[in-house]
Amino acid sequence: MVRRSREPVLWAMFSGGGMIAALLLPATVAVLWIAAPLGWVEAPSYEGLRLLFLHPIGRLSLFAVATLSFFHWAHRFRYTVYDGLQLYHLSQLIAILTYSIAVALTVIAGFVLVTTG
């Protein structure tokens, strides 16, 4: 039986975004902004990082992190507004607005990643 609810997709992106943001972003901050400036690890060179993120796999990873994080925000914000402000009659509108913002940000992120370099 095909279930018509869109929630599984939205929830998958929400939880994927939460996971990726929780794992990668603190690690990035720890390495680049704490460990490297304090000299605990050798700071990666600007040129090295630039090449890393200009590589197709680098671009794709950045795109995944950004997109999933946007959808994580959209899902969480949707329910915060929906439940928190108890706007049940506006549920469709809230969903359309929040996910549209995530889609728009995704398009911008994709554009930036494709055109940079």
């Binding site: 039986m1 095909v2 279930r3 609810s5 929630e7 599984p8 997709v9 929830w11 998958a12 939880s15 329910y79 439940d83 108890q86 049940y88």
Partner: protein, 246 residues
Amino acid sequence: MKSVAVEVLRYRPETEAEPSFDVFDVPYEDNWMILDAINHIKDQVDGTLSYRWACRMGVCGSCGMMVNGKPVLTCATYVEDVLPGPVRVEPLRGFPVVRDLVTDIQDFMVKLQRVKPWIIREEEKPLAEGEYLQTPEELEDYKQYSMCINCMLCYAACPIYELDPEFIGPAAIALAQRYNLDSRDQGREERMDVLSQHDGMWGCTFVGDCSVVCPKKVDPAGAIQRYKLDATVDWFQSVLMPWRKR
């Protein structure tokens, strides 16, 4: 003797339109539970006080009430742990009040039935073939979720249930998971049809209070998130591999 002020919500629909609080000064002994204090009021002070209780040992699940705003089993909460008082005792939040501390639990009973909390077999094997055997590992898979005593503290703790009474709720979903994870059960699809509706698992936003208040460490919030993962895997399979049936 030590004593504590206990504010009990009273509601007598035949004489009053609105609930009010009665305050009782209750003498208590070491190791008294809140339920002992309420029983003292009923036995010694005011026999008209209505509430539910039975086992006094955290098994029957009938003495759940709000104590100082938190859903607890009154038989498992020490008076000494809620001192200095006054101790406010109210019926479980989110349920209609029938009288005093007695709530109408019909909604929960209906929801419980909807998730089919029993072992479903496509075909029962003949008695002569014996019982359905299970290894200790297979028992371990669902045992935690089988500890639920239907006390409804998780419903009283759940802000979603309070806001949206259609939400099927923590205990019902955890109990569905209990049967899904049972190696003898084949009813996963049927339950998924119920729980993937909008009033099912997707109503949950993982506040997590249900697991905090659960007196049996069932962790309904964990069960619901596992269920969401299962539903998501189902969805991707049905889209990417439509020929494959789970």
